[in-house]
């Protein structure tokens, strides 16, 4: 079990490394975020719908969690 956790944390570290350095060219310019600014492209929204989903499935199933927050959008300021 512990080995699995360490292995997975290494994978996450590796992914982070990949995105942060190896793929620093992946993405868009700051002036190309028109589509990403659209409300329907915000992963955190609709926040209440996601909260309700979490409540329902948490109460009726054994699993929970998973989703984080932040990122995307217009990237302004």
């Amino acid at each position: 079990m512990k080995r699995l956790v360490f292995f997975l944390s290494m994978m996450v570290a590796l992914l982070t490394l990949l995105f942060l350095s190896g793929c620093s060219s992946v993405g868009v310019q700051v002036w190309e975020r028109d589509v990403l600014s659209k409300p329907e492209m915000q992963m955190d929204r609709p926040a209440l719908d996601r909260a309700i989903d979490d409540h329902i499935y948490f109460s009726k199933e054994a699993s929970s969690g998973g989703r984080g927050f932040g990122g995307g959008g217009c990237g302004c300021n």
Binding site: F6, M10, W31, E32, D34
Partner: protein, 171 residues
């Protein structure tokens, strides 16, 4: 457990290495473009219209929420200082021209607006944030570059522009 310690140390090394690697890398070329007012002058109909003026160059887009706040402020600034030789050039980077026009309709700015739908000008300036603004003195040299728009910073920008305008007058 010795394995574990090594894993952690390796992971830590990689993370710090990547953090260093991603330290903002300034493009020398872009810096040169922004340093002088001449770059923006070449795309204006009258390339001498900004000579001897204090100029505020702003990059905006209709989808940029802080831009919706900056425009009324810029309009106020323009009305306050235009007589003293203050100009604003607002470069819009919207790919959707209709959206850009709608944005301007809602705000109706009195200052010059330029369209850069291909993002070429923005690229030459090496923008790192939206909006970004550049303030140039009467000598055409860059005085300040501001990333983003915050009401708190706006007041100090106002003061700087006021000072720059007075500097010219005493010559």
């Amino acid at each position: 457990m010795a394995d574990y310690a090594l894993h952690v140390r390796v992971a830590r090394f990689f993370i710090s290495a990547s953090l260093i690697l991603t330290a903002p890398a300034t493009t020398i070329q872009a810096k040169n473009t922004a340093d002088s007012i001449s770059a923006i002058q070449t795309i204006l109909p009258d390339s001498t219209s900004l000579d001897g003026k204090v100029v505020y160059v702003d990059f905006w887009a209709s989808w940029c929420v802080p831009c919706r706040h900056s425009f009324p402020w810029m309009q106020g600034l323009y009305e306050k200082y235009h007589q003293k030789g203050f100009e604003i050039v607002a470069v819009g980077v919207d790919k959707d021209h209709k959206a850009a026009l709608k944005f301007l309709e809602d705000i109706k700015p009195a200052f010059s607006v330029v369209f850069d739908s291909t993002g070429e000008i923005a690229k030459r300036y090496g923008l790192e944030a939206m909006p970004t603004s550049f303030v140039y003195g009467r000598d055409g040299r860059l005085v300040i570059q501001n990333r983003g728009f915050h009401q708190e910073e706006a007041d100090s920008l106002d003061a700087i522009i006021g000072q720059l305008l007075n500097k010219g007058k005493t010559k």
